[in-house]
């Protein structure tokens, strides 16, 4: 037994490791599209907006994945509806919907008859991943990655130039819808481990870091997945040895990876100029 293998001798940590692999693969790959399409606010909103669904699932004892899925559909519909109201702008509409839904979730979760545990939903409970969570998460992740691969060229054409994509046979509306559904799926996969508030870390940070390092989409996706997985595993070590909250240290290190990439890009720029 040594420093590296020691943490993963327990079943809890082995399952957490698998969970990191799953959410790293989905978050890294899909995150590239979220970053390129500037959907970070959307990802954040879906994660917050699904909160009542998670709370109700926790209260009623149904699987979190199911409650989260229902919550996310409601949130997406509400955002889409509010976005159609003329005169207030999309961002403001999103803020209204998310604030309301999030407040509703907190109201449900913190009313006096509810057992404590809201923090698990807010910040995730990566060490509490069960075998059933893992199987469901892996299946959803596989479906998302297959869909991403199938839609790759259409998403690329729309992202590159929306106005001429249609003449190439790639419908911008379809691409938007697909991206939204995939993003919702990715939030669902990752919310088990990182919770409502931190899920956006895996969806944005690794991809934003990879964007600084790569000049092509496929290498960027590969780099984002690698960064997510490495930062995630490092987060597990940090949480094991420093005894800090696992979800927060995973999320924190993913953002740290972005900062590192940013510094690296800056340094490369400076050396290139001199």
């Amino acid at each position: 037994m040594d420093v590296l293998t020691d943490p993963f001798s327990a079943g809890i940590m082995q399952r957490a490791l698998l969970e990191i692999l799953i959410l790293g693969a989905v978050g890294g790959a899909l995150g590239c599209w979220i970053v390129l399409a500037e959907l970070s606010y959307g990802a954040e909103s879906l994660a917050h907006g699904m909160f009542p669904g998670l709370v109700i699932a926790a209260l009623a004892g149904i699987p979190l994945l199911l409650g989260g899925a229902i919550g996310i559909v409601v949130a997406a519909l509400a955002v889409a509806l509010a976005g159609r109201i003329p005169g207030i702008g999309r961002d403001n509409a999103v803020a209204v919907v998310v604030t309301t839904l999030f407040g509703l979730g907190v109201l449900l979760a913190l009313s006096p008859d509810v057992p404590p545990g809201i923090q698990g939903l807010l910040f995730g409970d990566i060490l509490g991943t069960s075998k059933r969570d893992l199987i469901a998460g892996a299946a959803l992740a596989a479906a998302l990655l297959v869909a991403l691969r199938l839609m790759h060229w259409r998403l690329l054409a729309v992202g590159f130039d929306r106005t001429s994509a249609r003449s190439l046979g790639a419908s911008p509306l379809l691409a938007d819808a697909v991206l939204l559904v995939l993003m919702a799926g990715a939030v669902l996969v990752a919310v088990q481990g990182l919770g409502n508030l931190l899920v956006v870390a895996v969806l944005v940070a690794p991809a934003a870091a990879a964007r600084l390092l790569c000049r092509r989409l496929l290498p960027m996706m590969a780099a984002a997945v690698a960064i997510a997985v490495v930062a995630g595993i490092a987060g597990l070590y940090l949480s094991y040895y420093a005894k800090v909250a696992a979800g927060a240290s995973v999320a924190g290190l993913m953002v740290a990876a972005y900062l590192l990439a940013r510094l690296g890009a800056l340094a490369a720029n400076v050396t290139a100029r001199t």
Binding site: E38, V96, L104, L198, A248
Partner: protein, 280 residues
Amino acid sequence: MFEAFDYPFMQRALVELLLLSLAAGTLGTWIVVRGLAFYSHGVAAAAFPGLVLADGLGFSATLGAFGVALLFALTVGQLAARTSSGHDALTALVLVAALAIGVVLASDVFESGANVETLLFGSLLAIGPDDVRLAALVAVLALLATAVLGQRWLAVGFDPAAARALGIRSPLADLVLLVLIALAAVATLSAVGTLLATALLVVPAATTRLLTKRLLPWQAATVVLAAVEGTAGLWLSFETNAPPGATIAVISGGLFALVALGRAAAGALAHARARKVAVA
């Protein structure tokens, strides 16, 4: 029914909320005009680790929160106001980093435990005399700045390109707005918490936006609406024991939905009536 407001801490909370409505109402209209909703959410959430740090080390919470929020305003906010794209990933990253740091500090360094929920969603009992003073200060500043800089903010929000061409866009005016929003977000923290500051800063202004497009009536209506929603939220929070941030968010969001539905129904009715007239 209103015996809730017989308690001194509830009276203080009420005064705080009314002052906050004045600040958030005027600033909220600027937030909506300038599309700074995500920024407002980010700046409030960024204050979270500052609050935890202040709580743990025992210095003024306002100072800790405002320090971090100011940092956020000067970095991310500047980007958000200047460019139209690319800042949203940055905002999201800073936001999530602030939350992660706050959680680690709260649960593992200072072991603040249950306090975290107070910081995140606000609490009736957390409102102190200092908070009331801060809210009064922010309200005065917000009104003053609106009187002095309102025209500039409006011109830039209406058409950034034209405003730049006219030489109106000044970075200083934008910076003042960003710092004021940060200050207002910090002032709302004790009442509504770091995660639901938008319940006061954005939702009332978006609701009244549906009813009027003219600036002065809009701002006045927003202040009144924020005060009403805040008061109702306080009362509900007292009755249910839920954090005031959550009750205010649900009440103001519900009202927004009602107004939006009402407007849609009125529009459909007017349309139907016009058609009937056309047929007859």
